[in-house]
């Protein structure tokens, strides 16, 4: 992305979605929900890309940060009744920010032990943190425990979902493209060499975790106010894997690719469900001939992951070699 025009693009995107959100009532609710999921998916994937892609760490607990943000934001907005449009936006913004901060704090807690860990160990520790967050939420009666938490307000709309996605992309792209941000890529390329060149690798790793977790928390807040019901099991290992797959499909450290992958992967399960619901195909006598796709779509999904790793480990959308593609 060309950084000079990025601010203009950002403002443009914000304006477009502000206007679009005024016409949202004309969009069918099912598709509206899918659109929110896409916005949330983009935020999650792009923020995870900072940790897994640019900095070369391996986090398997991104859904845990999302959970922290979701619950924090939901608890805050649940304190309020019906509000007018301006008060609503203010409260929502504060709640989302608070969710992000809470998640960033969790990211700091994960980041500190990672100072000594690499690769596989880091993966398993972040996975463990994600699970610990889930178990703690399950045991917190204040937020409903395993029964779940109802969120009173459905405040997420197109403006918030895509506006914040644009902000996330902008902030992370600017961060990585700045002089400071070269450090992330240095840590990714060769940690020992980076350290020898005087880069504080620990600081960069923790920064990546905190920033990534912050945006995951914001996405969690959006998720809470779009689904309006939270359960701890909705933020498990599987969710984290989905975001990791988005980053890998898009090509680690390739923001545009990751955005495309987030859109694709959010729509894929829905698409497969729609296809499997088709009643008749021309030339085929059977009723609902593609029904098997619905039943086996998760198997297809996992096979795709394996085949992709065997054939295109650099991701789907990497056309030319980027500075990050070193292997």
């Amino acid at each position: 992305m060309n950084i000079r025009h990025a601010k203009t693009v950002l403002l443009g995107v914000l304006a477009v979605f502000l206007v679009l959100s005024l016409f949202a009532s004309r969009i069918n609710g099912y598709w509206l929900n899918n659109l929110y999921d896409i916005g949330i998916g983009i935020i999650m994937a792009v923020s995870l890309n900072l940790i897994n892609g640019y900095t070369g760490q391996f986090s398997l607990g991104h859904a845990g940060f999302m959970a922290v943000g979701a619950y924090t934001a939901a608890v805050i907005t649940n304190q309020f009744g019906e509000l007018n449009v301006f008060a609503e936006s203010g409260v929502f913004a504060v709640a989302l920010f608070a969710g992000g901060l809470a998640a960033a704090l969790a990211g700091l807690l994960v980041g500190v032990p990672t100072l000594r860990l690499r690769g596989d160990y880091l993966a398993i520790v972040t996975l463990g943190f994600g699970e610990i967050i889930r178990v703690i939420l399950q045991n917190m009666d204040v937020v409903g425990g395993a029964r779940g938490l109802s969120v009173m307000h459905g405040w997420t709309n197109l403006f918030w979902a895509f506006g914040l996605a644009a902000v996330t992309v902008y902030v992370i792209a600017s961060l990585v493209n700045s002089t400071y941000g070269r450090g992330f890529i240095a840590v990714h390329d060769d940690e020992v060499a980076a350290e020898a060149m005087g880069i504080n690798t620990t600081k960069y790793k923790v920064t990546a975790f905190v920033v990534g977790a912050f945006f995951a928390g914001v996405a969690g807040g959006l998720y809470a106010h779009s689904k309006q019901f939270l359960t701890p099991s909705g933020f498990g290992f599987m969710q984290s894997i989905t975001f990791v797959v988005m980053v890998i499909l898009g090509g680690m450290g390739n923001t545009i690719g990751v955005i495309l992958a987030a859109i694709l992967l959010t729509l894929l399960p829905e698409g497969l469900r729609l296809v499997s619901g088709i009643e008749h195909l021309p030339g085929i006598a059977a009723e609902r001939p593609l029904n098997w796709i619905g039943e086996t779509r998760m198997i297809i999904y996992s096979l795709l992951l394996i085949v992709l790793m065997l054939t295109r480990p650099q991701g789907l959308f990497r056309l030319k070699k980027s500075p990050l593609a070193k292997h």
Binding site: P113, E131, N139, L303
Partner: protein
């Protein structure tokens, strides 16, 4: 006091199953340096192999009986050993020279594939594992109860540990395994066929996971396609706790995790039990990253 001892007995039985799974993780890590995420699902397949084999075996040898139970155990171990070799051949071998991350993600893919295929083929609802072993309370010492299943679990685990120790330390293949884990290139130059050694390692680890699956199903007879996830992760934690790549360490780690988890769920809160293993993992990595019995590795540039 009796309650405490009872918890320890339960913890030992649970921990020795974890130890069997942990051995597979630690062997594969020792040789290929990657976490075989699908290992927990091989454990699940071991239990399901037993579930489908038991009625067939019952036509030859009446079940429940010691001999019949043994037949189910061995048959399931053989099936899973073949499966482990197949997984390695199809998914991991083409990636022998790829970055570690690629292999790790492939392993996650294999794990998901086995889980979802399991849900599709076996059905997602839990199944009741048939009784393959006769149960009788062996001892009641002042309120302590010890049933035959627990004794069989501990006994089988100990036996398999000795067999494994024999294979690794006394056979030619074991020597080759140790050589490959020490330095794959040098071992290959000395005429060790690393591909066969790696296949053998997967066969051995998967057979142990299958044994763990059967023992688990005998003790907790509800099996489902996702049953391997948590025991798999806990067993991995056990392997790290003992020092990954270290066989006695994996066994020790399994026992420790099993006992701690049982004690916590007995005395503190049973709803926190699934978080215990991970808390232990984070602590051990902070305090002693090489594990209890592991050697400290120096990074060479």
């Amino acid at each position: 006091m009796t309650e405490f001892l009872q918890q320890i007995i339960n913890g030992l039985a649970f921990g020795s199953i974890l130890a069997l799974i942990a051995l597979g993780y630690t062997m594969v890590y020792g040789i290929l340096r990657f976490i075989n995420f699908a290992h927990g699902d091989v454990f699940m397949l071991g239990a399901f192999a037993g579930f489908y084999l038991a009625p067939k075996i019952a036509t030859l040898i009446p079940l429940p009986s010691i001999l019949g139970g043994l037949a189910v155990l061995v048959a399931s171990m053989v099936i899973c050993a073949a499966l482990g070799v197949l997984i390695e051949r199809l998914a991991y071998r083409p990636l022998r020279r790829s970055p570690k991350l690629t292999v790790l993600i492939t392993a996650i893919g294999v794990s998901l594939f086995l889980e979802y295929t399991g849900q599709f083929v076996f059905g997602a609802a839990p199944k009741k594992f048939p009784q393959i072993l006769p149960v009788y309370p062996i001892a009641k010492i002042g309120g302590l109860s010890l049933n035959s299943n627990q004794v069989i679990v501990l006994g089988t685990t100990l036996l398999l540990l000795f067999v494994l120790r024999f294979i690794v330390l006394k056979t030619k293949m074991g020597m080759a395994m140790r050589a490959v884990s020490f330095n794959p290139e040098a071992a290959a130059l000395m005429g060790v066929n690393t591909d066969i050694v790696i296949s053998f390692t997967f066969a051995l680890g998967s057979a142990l996971a299958a044994a763990a699956g059967i023992l688990w199903a005998v003790n907790y007879p509800a099996i489902d396609p996702l049953m391997g996830i948590l025991p798999g992760l806990k067993a991995f934690v056990a392997a790290v706790l003992g020092g990954i790549g270290n066989l006695p360490g994996a066994a020790l780690g399994g026992i420790i995790i099993g006992v701690i988890e049982t004690l916590v769920s007995g005395y503190v809160s049973s709803t926190y039990r699934d978080a215990i293993a991970f808390a232990v993992l984070i602590l051990i990595l902070l305090i002693r990253p090489s594990g209890l019995l592991g050697k400290k590795e120096v990074e060479k540039v």
